[in-house]
């Protein structure tokens, strides 16, 4: 099963025999409120260039002054008898560190992954986190696993932690320790919040009858919440668009024949799902078989291999990558840097590779913001003062001053940037949609009282607004 991503709501799905990851699209927010200067990159703490090479000893655990290393540990699901493997996250992280090291590293030190731990199905997450904290002597920890049960341990240890955002643990749980040390590739996840992007997309494409499909609660708790969020989004922001078919009771590996029959009878034009790639592939094939010409929105579909080999079943479907799409021209310097480096070093660039790369870059940002006398706590604190963190402008800026709060009950925690970048699949290729040159993100006001705009803002968050 491939990696799951999506601009915003990502879910992890537990399944009977095991676990499958599923994702739900829609998004995290995208805000480009009037307070955001359009077409400019986020303002980040600036660090004097000379300071970046300054070597200050005694930086604490995880920083080896003799070997001149900043050591990190990675915990990823590498062998999983029942679902996803996320080892490409490590590839992306390693690639980013290699690039930085080739440029001299930071503060006179190299960035080194000292241990790559395997966390089978997330089952040993707690155990691996504990072992890593005790044994790896790592300055920071990177996590890409199906389950993140070790989040509290990392929080208690105040360990700078960088995760692939498929889990909601970035937010501080009710009654648990503060998770302000945990940073993800997306802002705070809200599975059930109403958002504007999807209704806007449906209305732009002229759809008035939509369907929403999700796994049953037993298969994935987040999938059902995600579906409910979609439903509410249409109801709140586009009352003229009707959800004519809604099913949040699909078992894993379900037969979806009848769902498609019923969708056809209801005249569905647009389908939003909170399911993993395999299920949407099955859905696409069944729709084709039954002659239902509805368009899918594929939150997890940014998989070049899978789409190019899908035999055209996804043609006309929409995709929202969680970072600046590679297809957008002119490519942003950060995108180009990633693609060039991976190409030169024979690393296959996939979605998860770029997520690993981005999280490496976010860590580096944290170090830069903390300054030459960095410590673990200083990195955490420095990042948490950032109101628009977006390494190289690759992702929608995250406001770390509020993104450790669960936005389910506090929508403001979703941040002020509610943006998405849209691609359409044609002939096995991704074509950018609704974009302006150099401005990959389509952004909306987070204020629920502001109606759906006909022409939302187009923004770039790259330094200097270069795409």
């Amino acid at each position: 099963m491939r990696a799951h991503s999506n601009v915003g709501r990502l879910a992890v799905v537990g399944v009977l025999v095991a676990l499958v990851a599923g994702a739900c699209g829609n998004s995290k927010s995208q805000t480009a409120p009037q307070t955001v200067p359009s077409n400019t990159g986020p303002v980040a703490t600036t660090v004097p260039k000379a300071d970046l090479t300054k070597f200050v000893t005694g930086r604490g655990p995880g920083v080896d002054d003799t070997k001149k290393e900043i050591r990190v540990a990675a915990i990823t699901t590498q062998s999983n008898p029942i679902g996803g493997k996320y080892v490409q996250f490590n590839d992306g992280l390693q690639a980013y560190f290699d690039m930085i090291n080739s440029q001299g590293g930071i503060y006179g030190r190299k960035l080194v992954i000292v241990k790559k731990r395997d966390d089978t199905i997330g089952l040993q997450n707690n155990q691996q986190v504990q072992s890593s904290l005790a044994d790896d002597n790592a300055f920071a920890t990177f996590v890409a696993t199906l389950q993140f049960t070790g989040a509290d341990l990392l929080a208690k240890a105040k360990q700078p932690t960088f995760i692939w955002n498929i889990n909601p643990e970035m937010a501080t749980p009710k009654g648990g320790p503060s998770h302000d040390n945990i940073f993800g590739s997306l802002g705070a996840l809200c599975f059930s919040c109403s958002e504007k992007f999807l209704p806007w997309l449906a209305s732009q494409a002229g759809f008035t009858k939509v369907a929403v499909l999700a796994y049953s609660k037993s298969t994935s708790a987040s999938s059902g919440l995600c579906a409910q969020g979609f439903k509410n989004s249409y109801k709140t922001f586009a009352p003229n668009i009707k959800v004519v078919f809604f099913d949040d009771s699909l078992p894993f590996a379900a037969d979806i024949t009848t769902d498609v029959t019923r969708m056809k009878e209801a005249g569905v034009q647009f389908v939003s799902t909170c399911m993993d790639t395999n299920e949407v592939t099955k859905l696409a094939k069944e729709m084709k078989k039954q002659g239902l010409n509805a368009v899918q929105n594929l939150p997890n579909g940014y998989d070049h291999d899978a789409i190019s080999q899908s035999g055209g079943v996804f043609d006309n479907s929409y995709i929202e990558p969680q970072y600046v799409p590679w297809e957008l021209m002119p490519q942003s310097p950060a995108t180009k840097e990633f693609l060039d480096w991976t190409s030169q070093h024979n690393i296959k660039p996939v979605e998860l590779t770029e997520v690993g790369w981005i999280m490496g870059a976010m860590f580096l940002d944290g170090l830069k913001f903390a300054g030459p006398e960095f410590t673990k706590q200083k990195v955490i604190d420095a990042l948490n003062t950032q109101t628009a963190e977006s390494p190289g402008g690759l992702i929608v800026p995250i406001d770390w001053t509020i993104s450790h709060i669960d936005p389910t009950n506090d929508p403001a925690a979703g941040g002020k940037y509610r943006c998405a970048s849209v691609l359409k699949i044609q002939g096995g290729k991704f074509l950018p949609q609704f974009t302006e040159p150099g401005k990959p993100w389509i952004c909306f006001s987070p204020d629920p009282n502001v109606p759906l705009p006909k022409d939302p803002q187009h923004l770039s968050f790259a330094p200097g607004g270069q795409g």
Partner: protein, 675 residues
């Protein structure tokens, strides 16, 4: 009317998917006496090879089909028969089930060493143009679906004919009934057995290449999920009737499709019933079907002349050796304890806690499997019941955590007893399947309730406090867990050596004979189930408290299968065995694979640097370990302990006699040794 007809046809089409698996599973049981829970992963092996050859390497359909289905699948069957199941013909059905369980754990990992299932998302069937649709009475069926339906019918009809009208079919059944009697009648049991395994593996291979067109991916999880659903149909046929399994599977598909069609999709009923229907059906059939009432399992009537399994090593050694081993054990335990408490870092202490908690949970398997002789696939579920109950009571109701841990155990015990009561009339494999159905139902329905598991965020499970003693720190919590382990260990040992244990042993040996001397098998089994579930519940509650949350992943039914595998591999008859299994379960992934083995590899040679070994190795290791269960039902470690003790005892006797070897000095019997 057209809608109904369309739903019925769609139901029959999907029912044929179940049918192919249900018929294959029935065939395996009928021809080998093995409830081959690994049938799905055998299918996966063929499916992976077909995908690799046809899709990845561009081979034509026919050559890829011949290699994967006609050649490799039967070859796998022949290998399994030759090296495993041939030696298990007279073994108890539980031994055969455990062996199949080992294969279920190991085979996918072996296939995945070479096959990337995450990218196997473009499966094609065995007919060109598989996507071409045909409109039939309101339903739309693809050519691939039609090919599955045709194959399912051909397989079912063909097998019925083979068993009814051919000598081979009758001989296959005879060999399963009693290989010794069949051989007395001039049948080559080995050859027939091999043929039977090759035939059932052929069906698995066929299912392997056909089913991915339905699931859209070649992944072991899909085969196993579909197989789990197909078990209900297999049980409808009492594991032996191919026509009933076939029609049961079709019926299941039709009912599912009708529910899909007519239930409101966002109703509570739909969201609970749709994912759990196969397990509800399975449980109900097991409980209610008169055909299964005290159904005799396929076992060799002559097997009763086989000697009973050897007594535990602890029961065979001499007094000096007992004292010696106990002193050594205590010293070793104290040494480890000293290191963990006074020198171990947080990781070591954490692993120590996990070893102790899993030892408690695994003691529940000692009770139900090692003492009562039954196999339960619901031990993880019972642990979950204890974990969720304790977490909810402590965090929501504010009750004392220590108290909630005990209540969690009592609730799990009550559920275990309630499960045992209706399931008691079942024996052996059917009882095991009932526990499995219950576990899957729990996973699919109960766990999804937010008042049980907490929903998206797991329920917080605080650490206990006893008066002024706070167990918030890991070291103090380890002490508490050790206290629980000692209590549980003493209970288990008392049960084993006390009246209940003797009753259970008697029932295990011969239920009828036990009843004739006034022992109530019902009472004995309910006691075993309740005690076992209660112990698992206490362990589950401690696990939640240790982690700070009751995480549902920790109590997944599939995980429970792996627990059974690891405990029976290392020793399911003693508390010691449970502790060894816990050590293996925790340390393999925490230490052995990421640290110890790489350290050894990196220090013995300069060419290859290994950072960490994948956890897949653990599954292969213990999966294969379970294959030894039939030979060493006491567990590998226990078996080797018996051998070691015999050796040591020989040395002691030799020393005592001044170097002269006394006839019959080896006081400890080696299992399997000639009398």
């Amino acid at each position: 009317m057209e809608k109904l007809l369309g739903a019925l046809i769609d139901g029959v089409a999907f029912g044929c998917v179940y049918a192919l698996l249900a018929v294959g599973l029935t065939l395996a049981y009928k021809t080998s006496g093995v409830f081959n829970i690994a049938f799905g992963v055998q299918a996966f092996a063929s499916g992976a090879i077909y995908y690799q050859l046809h899709v990845n390497d561009g081979w034509g359909i026919l050559p890829a089909f011949i290699i994967s289905v006609i050649i490799v699948a039967p070859l796998i069957g022949a290998i399994l028969d030759r090296f495993l199941f041939r030696h298990l013909r007279s073994a108890p059905s539980m031994a055969r089930l455990i062996t199949a369980l080992g294969l279920l754990v190991a085979i996918p990992q072996i296939v995945l060493l070479k096959f990337n299932q995450t990218e196997a998302t473009r499966p094609t069937g065995i007919v060109p143009g598989g996507d071409v649709p045909y409109h039939i009475f309101g339903a739309t069926l693809s050519r691939d679906q039609l090919s599955i339906m045709v194959c399912a019918v051909i397989v079912a009809v063909g097998l019925v004919l083979v068993f009814r009208y051919t000598a081979l079919g009758i001989r296959m059944r005879a060999v399963v009934e009693s290989p010794r009697m069949a051989e007395l009648a001039g049948t080559d049991a080995d050859r027939i057995g091999t043929a039977a395994w090759m035939l059932s593996s052929l069906v698995a291979g066929l299912a392997g290449v056909l089913l991915p067109t339905v699931t859209s991916q070649v992944g072991d999880i899909y085969y196993t999920t579909l197989l789990t659903a197909a078990i209900a149909a297999t049980v409808l046929g009492s594991l032996t009737s191919i026509p009933l399994a076939f029609f049961g599977a079709i019926g299941l598909g039709v009912v599912q499709e009708l529910l899909n069609r007519y239930l409101p999709t966002n109703s509570v009923l739909a969201s609970n019933l749709r994912p759990s229907l196969p397990f509800v059906v399975l449980f109900l059939v097991l409980i209610l079907s008169p055909r299964l009432r005290n159904k005799r399992e396929l076992t060799d009537p002559l097997s009763s002349v086989d000697p009973p399994p050897p007594a535990p090593a602890a029961g065979q050694r001499s007094r000096e050796l007992t004292i010696g081993t106990r002193v050594a054990g205590v010293l070793f335990g104290l040494g480890i304890g000293y290191y963990v408490f006074f020198h171990g870092n947080a990781s070591v202490v954490g692993q120590g806690i996990q070893v102790v908690i899993y030892s408690i949970i695994f003691c529940s398997i000692v009770v139900i499997t090692g003492i009562a002789g039954e196999v339960s696939f619901a031990q993880a579920t019972f642990a979950g019941i204890g974990g969720f109950a304790s977490a909810q009571l402590s965090s929501s109701a504010g009750m004392s955590v220590i108290f909630t841990i005990i209540i969690g155990g009592l609730i799990a015990a009550a559920v275990g007893a309630m499960l045992a009561i209706p399931a008691l009339r079942l024996g052996g494999i059917f009882l095991t399947l009932a526990t499995y159905a219950f576990a899957l139902f729990f996973d699919n329905v109960i766990v999804s309730l937010s008042w049980v598991s907490g929903g998206l965020f797991p329920v917080v499970a605080p650490r206990p406090q006893l008066g002024s003693i706070d167990f918030a720190s890991d070291r103090s919590f380890l002490v508490l867990c050790l206290v629980f382990l000692v209590i549980v260990g003493v209970i288990v040992m008392q049960v084993r050596s006390g009246t209940t244990g003797r009753y259970l042993s008697a029932v295990r040996g011969s239920e009828v004979a036990a009843a004739s001397v006034g022992i109530s098998p019902t009472r004995a089994r309910i006691t075993a189930f309740a005690l076992s579930a209660g112990i698992a519940g206490v362990g589950g509650a401690l696990l939640a408290s240790y982690e700070g949350h009751a995480n549902k992943i920790d109590y997944n039914a599939t995980l429970g299968l792996f627990w059974v595998v690891i405990v029976v591999t290392l020793g399911s008859r003693t508390v010691e065995g449970a502790i060894q299994a816990a050590l293996g379960f925790v340390l393999f992934s925490a230490r052995v694979l990421p640290d110890w083995i790489p350290w050894i590899i990196n220090h013995v040679q300069p060419f290859l640097h290994v950072d960490s070994l994948p956890n897949a190795v653990q599954f292969i290791f213990f999966g294969f370990g379970a294959l030894t269960y039939a030979k060493h039902q006491e567990g590998i470690l226990e078996a080797n302990k018996v051998k070691s003790l015999a050796w040591v005892q020989g040395k002691i006797d030799r020393f005592k006699s001044g170097g002269r070897t006394k006839p019959g000095a080896a006081a400890v019997d080696t299992p399997g040794a000639a009398p």
